[in-house]
């Protein structure tokens, strides 16, 4: 019995009327943990009962503590009939198991019923006592900290980054059990909610065990997902990055607010980042397990963010040890990494020196047929599926000459029995000095010499050895190393990156029809469509990137969603102009038969329109790169990487692999031929993206390049739209337009809604698409709108309409065009430069271009497409070649980021703690002083009176508001005042209007934190102790 859980039920309020006769309620509370139940007395005839119960004590194993949620049920006592349940509260007590997190859960929590929603609130107190401090980690993994944040959490520094951890548990879905036919919807929903709580607890514990095995004490970038596979079961899976974190000692951090380190106000990424980067101070890590209290007492100074790799395998569930891959070029770094089963990292931003080069985006997809899970205790099939995918990713990365994958994520899309598994990440080379095994001499050519602002852009590979038809140029920043012309990555923009102008959200949207089919035929049809879908998404991305005059994408996320009659593809990324990379070429339009004058007129009109848009965009995003003299290097291509596989779960053999190369040979100018229906579509897609209203910016990454001076005003929101296609016979183009308009209109609505926050940036815009039914398209968006100060540092008056600026831009433009022509010439002389590239041929030689796509015969078309896809694949990966110098200076960005504070509205009058929520890992103008634990909640809501609840919109609106309310309440009960790295990972909505019914499932997660406004921090920093421990700016208890 290593733990004692203590629960006290204090009071209730706003309870619903359960007794019609008296208009009152006789409420009592059932407190359940595991198999033990306690009851409070009945508090008769009140809607605001004061139970003030004794302490209910549960003596339990710590394993149960981790797995089980505390379940509190509020009931109405009925003398003659069965007691009616009012609602339930599930409390995850995991945060209490780690002494660095919360110590008590105390506050008003909403009482939730799956049929009626929130029905009043209950005030509870929950504590955990450990009997035995020494052995408590034996069976369980109590004490391992979990973070959703995909960077090293502020107020911690990474001692070591161990690597990838994953786990997966499966179960039968209670919704599909036979018993579901005889039980009430409420009972079924509650069984489901409880099961998922249990499964996530178990998953977290298992992951924790792996982390302990690896010698870590925390999981960063923890990503947990549910796959509702329907009949075949319920899968809960999670991935994360095991780390050894060390709390920046409270004393130091409090006193160190004035020196630039450790103050998140000046450093948005990680606290260690701004610390002076001296080499050689590597903390050794001996004991794999720490009691958290012990760690706190260690008075580490904020010296160096030393990162060490534990050289052990991830201990994956299969226990498979991948044989060390003998690479020729990468030495110890690589071998250390490659000893690992999967050298993957779910982080998206890194401490300095961690990342050296980026090889580009790697992704793998696989279509599977779902099969009933026969034995929930051995989820081998699912494990095997993911293993395949991961192996593929790993080999992609290897083929790119990289030994690690960063910004790694996994996702699924399920329709009936077909499931698409996807994984993507950014292939990269990590700094060798962070490898744990032995002191290694760093033999990277670029290391130590490349300036930090551009080093990561330099190609990592030897351009002579890799057959790669990329256009390499000398870095526009340092002029010493080669860089590619375009970078695509899934990670965040490194803070030290040199960026010209601002960034913006770039989306490619695609909708493709598909015939209704069953089983294997369906799976085959889907996997045949996938490569085309991906290819077109990339073409769109590339075009849109060029239209904005930018040359790199960060945070790339491609979502493919499958429905019965269509496939949806949505790619989102943040476009950025990296100073180190060459300026993108123009987009040129050409007609196939330049015979008649009106036709040419038409073409030139379109061309003009495109040129105007580019010019306008350059002005809008302040993309006015310094002019440079250009040199060209014909360059090699790496081998094809992008694969799309069809592997049926039962047939092992289907190893026919479609290798796709999505590279466009040359990037300097795109030629869109308008005879070509696809090109028409492309142009259409390019030009229909309506510009953002003035004062708005958007991105899908953590930080917006070019904006630093945030105010403290933030507004997190979720918006969901479902669109019904009444018209059954839609062409691909028609569908595309509908889908694109849907997204555009949604964005427009958001801009309008948030107009009061101008000037503002929508950060971390996260779109999720789904095809919930045959003719329905669902789009859900979660983002945070953040205001910034218009007229401060770094903002060169776009609004001022500075004529000279515009002039400068156009001049630059001309300059660049000239340069590009040079580029083009040299590249066209390169035999490898793809003349097959769909529509990309140098602007200066339109006649030399090969016909983009030959539609004459289907076979030809397919083969040429695949060819092109193959080419494209390179781009994607090559897209993001990065080099990071190990000798990083503090980046210029964080320093310029002195945000002045805007006194926030005082909420003092309210009795409810204000809880901020944001999908970002930081809160502008504030310092996170404590992480209280992970919030991971799953709710189901169902109604059989849909019309009465305001129809589908009313129903979902209420539900989302309720979920937010419950999240806020739990954060407040932990003593926190904000939830960072918030995400809504699942938002399933199903309706049956004929039966007046609807059901919805939502899964949300994030990190509960305490933050302190910088202004308050300064005021209290005189007394460091109190500053560190006492400050909960809004008062933690919600009573």
């Amino acid at each position: 019995m290593p733990g004692k859980l203590k629960v006290k039920i204090v009071a209730g309020r706003h309870l619903p009327v359960m007794d019609r006769a008296s208009d009152l309620t006789d409420a009592f509370v059932d407190v359940k943990f595991g198999n033990t139940t306690f009851k409070t007395d009945v508090y008769p005839k009140s809607l605001n009962p004061q139970w003030n119960s004794e302490w209910f004590k549960f003596e339990v194993d710590d394993e149960d503590l981790q797995d089980e949620p505390l379940q509190i049920t509020v009931l109405d006592h009925d003398t003659y009939s069965a007691n009616d349940a009012i609602g339930k509260v599930y409390i995850d007590i995991d945060p209490l198991l780690c002494s660095e997190a919360a110590t008590v859960i105390s506050g008003w929590l909403p009482i939730y019923d799956t049929i009626h929603g929130i029905r009043g609130e209950i005030n509870v107190l929950v504590k955990v006592d450990f009997f035995n401090d020494l052995n408590r980690f034996r069976q369980s993994s109590c004490g391992v900290k979990f973070f959703c944040t995909t960077s090293i959490p502020r107020c911690y520094r990474a001692v070591m980054v161990h690597g990838f951890v994953e786990e997966l548990v499966v179960n039968e879905d209670p919704e599909y059990q036979w018993i579901d036919r005889i039980r009430t919807p409420r009972a079924s929903n509650e069984a489901r909610q409880r099961l998922i709580f249990l499964m996530s607890g178990e998953l977290q514990r298992k992951i924790g065990l792996k982390v302990l095995e690896m010698g870590g004490n925390a999981v960063v970038g923890y990503l947990q997902c549910f796959d509702l596979e329907g009949e075949s079961g319920l899968v809960v899976r999670a991935i994360g990055t095991a780390c050894t974190l060390e709390k920046i000692s409270t004393l130091t951090s409090a006193s160190a607010t004035h020196p630039s380190n450790s103050s998140p106000s000046k450093d948005m990424k990680d606290s260690p980042q701004a610390a002076p980067s001296t080499l050689g101070c590597r903390s050794t890590h001996s004991s794999p397990v720490h009691s958290a209290s012990g760690r706190l007492s260690q008075g580490f100074s904020v010296s160096v963010p030393t990162l060490l790799f534990a050289g052990m395998g991830s201990g994956g569930s299969a226990g498979k040890e991948a044989g060390p891959l003998k690479a020729l070029l990468r030495q110890q770094t690589q071998s250390a990494l490659e000893q690992r089963e999967y050298p993957f990292f779910t982080l998206t931003s890194f401490p300095p020196g961690f990342l050296l080069h980026v090889g580009g985006v790697v992704s793998a997809r696989s279509v599977k047929l779902l099969d009933r899970i026969h034995n929930p205790d051995e989820p081998e099939t699912r494990d095997a599926w993911w293993e395949e995918i991961r192996q593929e990713i790993k080999s992609h990365a290897k083929a790119l000459g990289c030994h690690a994958v960063l910004g790694y994520s996994e996702s699924t899309s399920i329709c009936e029995e077909v499931c698409i598994l996807s994984a993507s990440g950014t292939a990269a080379i990590l700094g060798s000095r962070f490898v744990q095994d032995g002191p290694l001499d760093t033999d990277y050519r670029f290391e130590e010499v490349a300036p930090p602002g551009c080093g990561f852009c330099h190609i990592p590979y030897d351009e002579l050895n890799i057959p790669f038809p990329a256009q390499l140029t000398y870095c526009y920043y340092c002029r010493r190393f080669k860089v590619p012309d375009v970078l695509f990555t899934t990670i965040d923009l490194p803070t030290e990156a040199n960026v010209t102008g601002k960034g913006c959200l770039i989306q490619a949207r695609l909708c493709r029809t598909k015939k209704k089919a069953q089983g294997e035929g369906n799976a085959t049809a889907i996997s045949n469509l996938l490569p085309f879908l991906e290819y077109e998404l990339h073409t769109q991305l590339m075009n849109k990137l060029k239209l904005r005059g930018m040359n790199s994408l960060f945070g790339l996320r491609i979502q493919i969603s499958v429905g019965e009659t269509m496939l949806l593809g949505l790619a989102s990324a943040t476009g950025v102009y990296l100073t180190a990379l060459p300026s993108p070429g123009r987009i040129q339009i050409a007609g196939k038969t330049p015979s008649d004058i009106t036709y040419e007129q038409h073409i030139s009109n379109m061309q003009k329109k495109i040129n105007d848009t580019i010019a306008k965009n350059k002005e809008l995003y302040e993309v006015n790169p310094p002019e440079v003299v250009e040199e060209m290097i014909g360059s090699p291509i790496p081998e094809p990487r992008q694969r799309s596989r069809l592997l049926r779960s039962h047939s092992e053999s289907s190893d026919e692999v479609t290798e796709l190369d999505l590279s466009h040979g040359k990037k300097d100018a795109f030629v869109l031929e308008i005879d070509d229906t696809d090109a028409v579509e492309d142009i259409h897609a390019l030009l229909t993206d309506s510009p953002m209203p003035p004062g708005f910016y958007s991105c899908n990454t953590e930080i917006m390049p070019g904006i630093q001076n945030w105010t403290s005003a933030i507004q997190m929101f979720t918006s969901v739209r479902v669109f019904r296609l009444n018209n059954a016979n839609l062409t691909n183009q028609g569908l595309n337009k509908i889908f694109s308009d849907l997204c555009e209109n949604l964005l427009k609505s958001l801009y309008f809604k948030l107009r009061s926050m101008i000037p503002c940036c929508l950060c971390h815009l996260n779109f999720t698409v789904a095809v919930p039914e045959d003719e329905l398209i669902q789009v859900a968006v979660t983002a945070v709108a953040m205001s910034f100060y218009k007229d401060q540092t770094l903002e060169n008056g776009r609004q001022s309409g500075d004529k000279t600026l515009i002039k400068a831009i156009t001049e630059n433009d001309e300059q660049l065009q000239f340069n590009l022509e040079l580029n083009a010439e040299s590249s066209s002389s390169n035999p490898l430069s793809s003349t097959k590239g769909l529509s990309d041929v140098s602007g200066s030689h339109p006649s030399a271009r090969a016909p983009p796509v030959d539609y004459s015969s289907f076979a030809d078309r397919c083969s040429s497409w695949i060819e092109q896809l193959r080419l494209k694949a390179h781009t994607i990966r090559r897209g993001s070649v990065k080099t990071t110098s190990s000798l990083e200076k503090a980046s210029p960005l964080p320093e310029g980021r002195s945000r002045s504070l805007q006194s926030n509205r005082s909420y003092s009058g309210s009795s409810v703690t204000v809880v901020k929520m944001t999908p970002l890992s930081f809160i502008p103008g504030a310092k996170i002083t404590k992480y209280l634990g992970i919030i991971n909640m799953f709710f189901i809501r169902e109604t059989s009176s849909l019309r009465e609840e305001g129809g589908v919109s009313g129903f979902l609106h209420t539900f989302i508001a309720e979920v937010f309310a419950m999240v806020r309440a739990h954060v407040a009960a932990l003593g926190g005042n904000a939830l960072v790295s918030y995400s809504m990972k699942e938002c399933v909505f199903m309706e049956n209007p004929n039966k007046n019914q609807a059901q919805s499932l939502i899964n949300v997660s994030g990190d509960a934190v305490i933050f302190v406004r910088e202004s308050e921090l300064e005021a209290t920093s005189v007394q460091p102790q109190s500053a560190a421990t006492r400050e909960t700016s809004n008062g933690g208890d919600g009573t």
Partner: protein, 356 residues
């Protein structure tokens, strides 16, 4: 092709003041969109009609979800469903409980019953205020009335405390509750010229001086009812008109004081006995609930109209009432000074307010 579902939920609930007002005024979504388009918001924000429709529907839905809480404003501050900054909460409450003067004039003094509510469509037609808005306002009156009816202590404070209303609005509601519970007649044609604020002022005077709470707010009685003892005592004032000597004496005192100070002295002198009789009769009858209802109509018919037909200015009225009140104290046989002061103080300020 249609948007089947469209929701926007912010961590901090976004509420547009303008749309809230349209909602309160009872506009339908499509009418509200029209009004917004006419307001030029599309040009201002580069929006289109679709965006406006979506936004308006969303806002309306939010307001409907909030309405339940607005019925018990105290709940709004400790509910968890919507995160609304306190200043926003105050705005919502204030606007939700605000009412149209035109509407309140129609129902002022009426019983806040289902019957009255049924007639609201007539009120709506007459005032041009949308029925939905009329219903909200009526329900607000009724809700406040019901809550406050049974409470002890000062009326205005009770209202402010329970409904978190700003000072002025709290007073107005006190007037509405006071009028509703005493059923004062305000709808007669002759009273049409009076505004709600006129009545609210009078209600304030009555609440402050003629109710039980006015003399002793420690009493466990309420501000809603007039002080029965006082009303009983008012009967004693009859002596001023029944005793011929006293009446003559009073008249001469008043006339002496007024002579030369006004242009309508002759009319004052000629009407003195009539006016004095009117005022004292009103006082004496107040013990009957039915006559309390006619209080304002009596004041207008029996005092204000005669004065007005003689073209008294309000300065004249003030002068007259001042001397009329003060002179009574000099009368040697008149003993009821306390009651007289309490009565005439209110009468004087009420008359001065409604004499226009």
């Amino acid at each position: 092709m249609s948007v089947e579902l469209d929701v926007f939920v912010g961590n901090t609930t976004i509420m547009d003041k303008e749309v809230f007002q349209l909602w309160l005024n009872g506009y339908t979504v499509s009418d509200a969109v029209k009004v917004r388009i006419e307001g030029g918001i599309m040009e201002e924000c580069e929006a289109n009609a679709e965006v406006l429709l979506s936004d308006t529907m969303d806002q309306y839905r939010t307001f409907q979800m909030c309405e339940r809480l607005l019925h018990h404003p105290a709940k709004l501050s400790n509910q968890l469903l919507f995160q609304i900054p306190p200043d926003r909460q105050a705005m919502l409450i204030e606007r939700y409980y605000a009412f149209d003067d035109a509407f309140v004039r129609e129902v002022l003094g009426k019983k806040l019953s289902k019957g009255t509510k049924k007639d609201l469509d007539d009120v709506s037609a007459k005032t041009g205020i949308m029925l939905k808005s009329c219903r909200r306002q009526f329900d607000n009156f009724k809700r406040v009335f019901k809550v406050v009816e049974e409470l002890k202590g000062p009326l205005v404070e009770n209202i402010q405390q329970h409904f978190l209303l700003p000072d002025q609005l709290g007073r107005d509601y006190a007037a509405i509750v006071f009028f509703a519970s005493n059923r004062f007649e305000t709808g007669k044609k002759k009273l049409q010229y009076l505004t709600f604020q006129d009545f609210a002022f009078c209600a304030g005077q009555l609440i402050n001086h003629w109710t039980v709470g006015a003399v002793d707010n420690m009493m466990d009685d309420m501000d809603v009812d007039l002080d029965k003892e006082f009303l009983q005592d008012l009967k004693d004032l009859k002596i001023l008109i029944t005793d011929k000597d006293l009446l003559d004496q009073h008249k001469s005192l008043v006339c002496t004081a007024l002579r030369g100070k006004t242009n309508v002295f002759n009319e004052m002198e000629a009407n003195f006995k009539n006016l004095s009789r009117s005022l004292v009769n009103i006082a004496a009858k107040l013990i009957n609930a039915k006559d309390v209802r006619d209080f304002f109509i009596d004041l207008v018919e029996k005092f204000i109209e005669p004065c007005r037909s003689d073209r008294w200015t309000s300065i004249d009225v003030n002068l007259y009432l001042t001397h009329y009140t003060n002179s009574a104290h000099i009368l040697d046989t008149f003993k009821h000074h306390g009651v007289w002061t309490r009565y005439m103080g209110v009468i004087k300020s009420c008359i001065l307010r409604i004499y226009h």
